[in-house]
Subunit: 207 residues, 2 copies
């Protein structure tokens, strides 16, 4: 059903690809921020646009059809590098680096700038949902047992300031193919959004 691209890359291949493409992605993230905040005039914008179009033409002269997908290393590790939340090749991703906590849950510390704005100076409520959907899903999943969102509910306690943020999630309980996860988003003054969701092991990933 899904177009998993099997590549069997060695750890060295993966490190080499990462060293080539990750700095490019970081440069594009900085460009996104500058594109939103720039106040330069028409001539400077036209010059910058010409440079960007040239870079795009160069990069797209050889490219995969469609989206990035998920590639695998020879060790069976996933490379979800195109993922909109965690992808090291996706400039839209902050990106989140999800870590395992001592209590069996997961957490991630990250920064959201001008590109994620909704209310002035604050994180778009839907971006909070995007982050929490991913983090709760990560808490509910393991590499061997991926899970997809069944339902998720977000409760907004107050607005979330743009800046340094943390998201956390853990499994509340598991019932067959359903895993119930809870979590929250916090800024430097505490929790701003609470979430709970049901994550389901897709049919193609069941035993």
């Amino acid at each position: 059903m899904l177009d998993w691209t099997l590549e069997n890359l060695s750890a060295e291949d993966v490190a080499r690809l990462r060293s080539i493409y990750e700095p490019l992605t970081e440069s594009v993230r900085a460009l996104i921020d500058a594109t939103i905040r720039s106040e330069v005039g028409a001539e400077a914008v036209a010059d910058a646009k010409a440079q960007i179009d040239a870079a795009t033409a160069r990069l797209s002269s050889e490219q995969v059809d469609g989206s990035y997908g998920i590639r695998f290393t020879a060790d069976g590790d996933q490379m979800p590098w195109g993922n909109v939340v965690i992808g090291v090749r996706n400039p839209v991703a902050p990106p989140l680096l999800i870590e395992e906590g001592d209590d069996g849950g997961v957490y991630t510390d990250f920064h959201l700038g001008a590109a994620y704005e909704g209310p002035p100076g604050h994180v778009h409520g839907g971006v909070a949902a995007l982050v929490l959907d991913h983090v709760l899903g990560a808490a509910a999943s393991s590499q061997e047992k991926p899970r997809l969102t069944g339902t998720i509910t977000l409760r907004y306690l107050r607005m979330t300031r743009l800046g340094n943020l943390r998201a956390e999630a853990r499994i509340a309980r598991t019932d067959g193919v359903k895993t119930y996860a809870v979590g929250h988003l916090a800024d430097d003054e505490g929790v701003t959004v609470e979430a709970e969701g049901v994550f389901i092991r897709p049919r193609w990933a069941r035993d």
Copy 2:
């Protein structure tokens, strides 16, 4: 509470600014797609990165502090150009153009490509949440009466294919400062995600 920047721009000023910055934003969107999908080698990537860094330096030589915020025209129209879902200056925004339906609801037709991927070839569940949060909020709000998300619940019926999509929303009922909205996301085979939410008029926007 919010840093609304008042600018009193004329309609001509707005059109001029849009003609300068919107093509730039569209170029950066194309670059984001190429950055994810490119298969060119290290030398070409380094060349492209140098051009991108030069463009960023040029654009950021004069820029606003912090995020874009929302500016107003002399007519009182909002310019949420930095918004992550609808912002004409935000390359992360698809962007959505939200239209009013005949039945009092709202709808939007849009395209999501490689930059919005979760499961291979499919829209990230959190991006569906981001879109639906915004579209339900738009159905629940008017320019005079902005509303922020109180709670929202998403039900995922199946995965959403990357490509041409539609989102719709309408008000189910209003009870004082609370407005209940419902809506859905659909791909070319029908509804993929259903949503319902409570949107609250913030204290600073009440009579």
